[in-house]
């Protein structure tokens, strides 16, 4: 259960710090998902937390595998690029869908539509 890769001291420190920081930031984002009051507040914390947390854990993974195989291993950058691109798209789609549903249902405290105000 408890095991670790065989790394030199400096690499172990970098990997440990990055893994723990990434996990902690992800947890902060998830707690924000629990604690915020309305849906429009709730979409933001997981997006921020997950993007930064993914970045840190992928940096740790890149460091770990690069040191173990003694050559640069960069295929983890694929996940980093993908998550960085897709997370804001998910946020926009979900917020748009929720706005549409709230306006269709006639809910009062919906964020205003700034495009309609110029007309």
């Amino acid at each position: 259960m408890i095991q670790a890769p065989d790394l030199p001291f400096w690499a172990a420190i970098i990997v440990g710090l990055f893994v723990f920081a990434g996990a902690a930031i992800t947890l902060i984002g998830a707690i924000g998902l629990l604690r915020m009051k309305t849906f429009y507040e709730r979409v933001h914390p997981p997006t921020l937390g997950m993007t930064l947390g993914t970045g840190f854990i992928l940096l740790a993974s890149i460091t770990c595998f690069s040191v173990m195989q003694s050559r640069p291993v960069l295929h983890e950058a694929l996940i980093a690029i993908f998550i960085t691109i897709t997370t804001p798209i998910t946020l926009m789609l979900l917020a748009r869908a929720a706005l549409y549903r709230d306006r269709a249902a006639g809910v009062e405290d919906v964020p205003r539509d700034f495009e309609d105000e110029g007309k």
């Binding site: 670790a4 890769p5 992800t26 998830a30 998902l33 173990m68 979900l94």
Partner: protein
Amino acid sequence: MTMLVLALTITAAQILLGLAMACAAFRALRGPRAQDRVLGLDALYVAGMLLLLTYGIQTGRTIFFEAALIIAVLGFAGTVALAKFLMRGEVIE
């Protein structure tokens, strides 16, 4: 000594990620509305993917990376389909 500390750190990070998955699962189960559940599911799969990556670091195997990549791609497709369903009531029109 270094290995033991690193092992404990990675295990602690896995526990934190498990807690994050629990928070997301709670939001997915409790709602209160459909968009909250989709949001919780989205956070759940990203946290699960990160948990797989930490297992990859722990064991030194690259197979976990491939599983994480598949989860990232298919999870995004699933969330987009669910958001489309929330907006239009149908996924493919």
